[in-house]
């Protein structure tokens, strides 16, 4: 094709993209991109304060407030920790899951949200298999919506609890985060990046604190365009080369439920990307190993590494409750301050 015959005119003035109206409710947490570093610092500080608070005092903070958990996908950690967090602050919680509700009868997300609001829910925690579902729910209900994972898109509380875990290991005692807090730190995220909302959330949060995020995985699970998602993100396909640079190694599960017919040679995958004891000892003997769970032992990570001294996987789970207390508190306190649209 002779491209010179059709030069593309530069400098065309074209229609602008409208500014995002989201979030409608200041208590919502839809994406890590909605949080300023000041807001992140505040949430980290509140997580610590609430964790250290007398449980009886803590339970008065949101006493008898109503929080709904709306789950369209199965979940162990996120659901339980959100529920324990809300209850720990004294709130009443109710769980609606897609398999035991009118969702099965064809009720839409909009109608389900409006119904929960009419029942007195003051905030909704949503886990959904469609990317963007939390934005739809927030636009329709105008309630504080906490995104507990939307499709392949975002899982902001996971990124916050990962950050808390990272800080505890690499920057103990730090009070507030800035654009330099994680300068010099390389976080490698390994595996099924394409389908991972955890990866997207972390790669959009951690570089804002100065970290380098290295993505590692095969082409089928890590397209080249992932490196364009934001600043501070690069791709290294060689796992061992990535490990050698890393202070943090975050392993991901292969999301069989989202592969959509993709054929993957698991033996080859394990040969190239499984985090094994010898690999870790040889290339990243001091790195902290994270995994958002659920882990599939013997696939992306060996049992020895998961249970080993470098693993902070259960610490992440514990941090989840503290972070989610802070996020639930923010949801209802922001609403109290006139945030209801």
């Amino acid at each position: 094709m002779n491209r010179t015959a059709t030069p593309v005119r530069r400098q065309l003035n074209t229609p602008p993209v409208a500014a995002s109206p989201f979030p409608y409710n200041p208590g919502s947490l839809l994406s890590v991109e909605d949080l300023s570093l000041e807001a992140v610092s505040h949430l980290l500080a509140r997580a610590t304060a609430l964790e250290n608070e007398d449980p009886l005092v803590r339970a008065r903070i949101l006493a008898k407030r109503r929080v709904a958990l709306l789950f369209y996908e199965s979940s162990t950690r996120t659901r339980t920790s959100f529920e324990l967090a809300a209850k720990g602050l004294g709130a009443d919680t109710t769980l609606v899951s897609s398999l035991s509700s009118s969702i099965e009868k064809g009720e839409s997300l909009k109608d389900t949200g409006l119904t929960l609001r009419a029942l007195g829910a003051e905030a909704i925690i949503l886990r959904h298999n469609s990317s963007g579902a939390a934005w739809l729910l927030e636009a329709e209900t105008r309630l504080p919506v906490l995104n507990a994972g939307d499709g392949m898109h975002q899982h902001p509380t996971q990124a916050l609890l990962d950050l808390r875990t990272i800080l505890a290991h690499l920057r103990p005692g730090i009070q507030a985060v800035t654009a330099e807090t994680l300068a010099g730190v390389t976080v490698t995220i390994v595996g099924d990046i394409l389908h991972s909302r955890v990866a997207r959330s972390n790669m959009l949060l951690l570089p804002r604190l100065g970290a380098r995020v290295v993505l590692c995985g095969p082409k089928e699970l890590l397209p080249e365009l992932a490196a364009h998602a934001g600043p501070g993100i690069s791709i290294e396909r060689n796992f061992e080369a990535a490990l050698a640079q890393s202070q943090i190694v975050m392993m991901l599960r292969i999301q069989a439920e989202r592969l959509a017919g993709m054929q993957l040679d698991l033996e080859e995958y394990k040969a190239n990307y499984q985090l094994t004891g010898p690999r870790l000892a040889a290339h990243a003997p001091t790195a902290v190993v994270l995994h958002p769970g659920p882990i599939i032992r013997g696939l992306e990570i060996t049992a020895g590494v998961a249970d080993g001294p470098q693993s902070a996987i259960l610490e992440q789970v514990r941090n989840g409750v503290a972070i989610r207390m802070a996020v639930v508190e923010r949801a209802l306190k922001a609403a109290d301050q006139g945030g209801r649209a």
Binding site: L109, G151, Q154, R200
Partner: protein, 434 residues
Amino acid sequence: MTALVIRGGQLIDPAAGVDALKDVLLKDGKVAEIAAPGKLKSANGADVLDATGLTLAPGLIDMHVHLREPGQGYKETIASGTAAAAAGGFTAVAAMPNTVPVNDSPEITRWMQAPERRAAVRVFPIAAATRGSRGEALNDYAALKSAGAVAVSDDGRPILKDNIMRETLAAAARVGLMVIQHAEDTRLTQDASMNLGPVSFKLGLRGMAPEAESSIVERDIRLVNELRDTRVHLHVAHTSTAAALAAVRQARRNGLRVTCEVAPHHFLLTDEHVGLYDTNAKMCPPLRSAADRDAMIEAILDGVVDAIATDHAPHAVHEKEVEFDNAPNGITGLETALGLSLRWLHKEWKLPLGRVLSLLSAQPAALLGMKGRGTLIVGSFADVVVFDPKAEWTYNARATKSKSRNTPFDGWTMQGKIRWTVSEGRIAYNAESA
């Protein structure tokens, strides 16, 4: 009413090379006389529309709309869709066959044109290329043509099999119909809901690669070339990628009868306009990259694009108020096409007014073989749009004549306010009584 005079306006008739102040007499559905202001000879007793300070042009022709009848009257009817067309300055629309049932028969083709549909402007059905648009067995094109079909297409259900597409092109050519292809290799776009690129990655949505469009366009052009029959006419619907346009451009250089249309949203918007899951920015083909969008503008300015067509695709509010990946594809477009084209193609990118109007009337008329439309020479149909080309206005989707309002252009500033739309001598739209 049998006679109507439009007096004092600037007549722009690109096909006739006219751009001058003229009075026009419409009589019995046809253009009866055109004269310098005040010089009409036989205007006695006619009703008068005072077009002083306004422009009159051949009624616009949209060669790609979905009117949803038969079968989906809750989204649109032929009456409501053509009312929206008239409000947008269109006097003829070519209706795609993906109705329920699919328009693959002379009976449905005639039904769509029947007076009982109460169409405000002329409806020209495009019939399905294959039975049920399943891409397997060809329909009877001669019978469809005599029932009024102006082209054949399996829009929305692209013809993937090489042999079926080859037979379709050959059979349509024998009866003088063009084949309109919705170019999308659906084997590559399963579960995808927007353009493949950095934006889709970031939003966690599965993307449609530009190659899913261009590979089908390239395949179709190869088939046209192999057929070696100058009557074969391939028309690429809603072209959205630079690669597809490059293929069309090259085919034209090679002397093949390959034409294409571009929709306003594809020359104005990019995948960034999806924002945070705006389902009114979801259509197929999807909004593409800025480079692709710029290629659409360039190809319109340099003449490779043959027509602007809206792909007007109404959907009910409740169908679009859902998760992005569950929302149906398509946006409305009839009421915004002229306003957007004048605001951007003409005012911003300096395409002469006559060329904008030609892309919206004379050229689609020629592509579809419409006799006596797309021009206002004496004897042609009295299809006229009268508008103020300088007036700016704001589009309000809630005031639409369509049954649906799934548009990304709600609240946008438009240029060129329509005053009257006249369809075969009858006033189909009057801004003062709208």
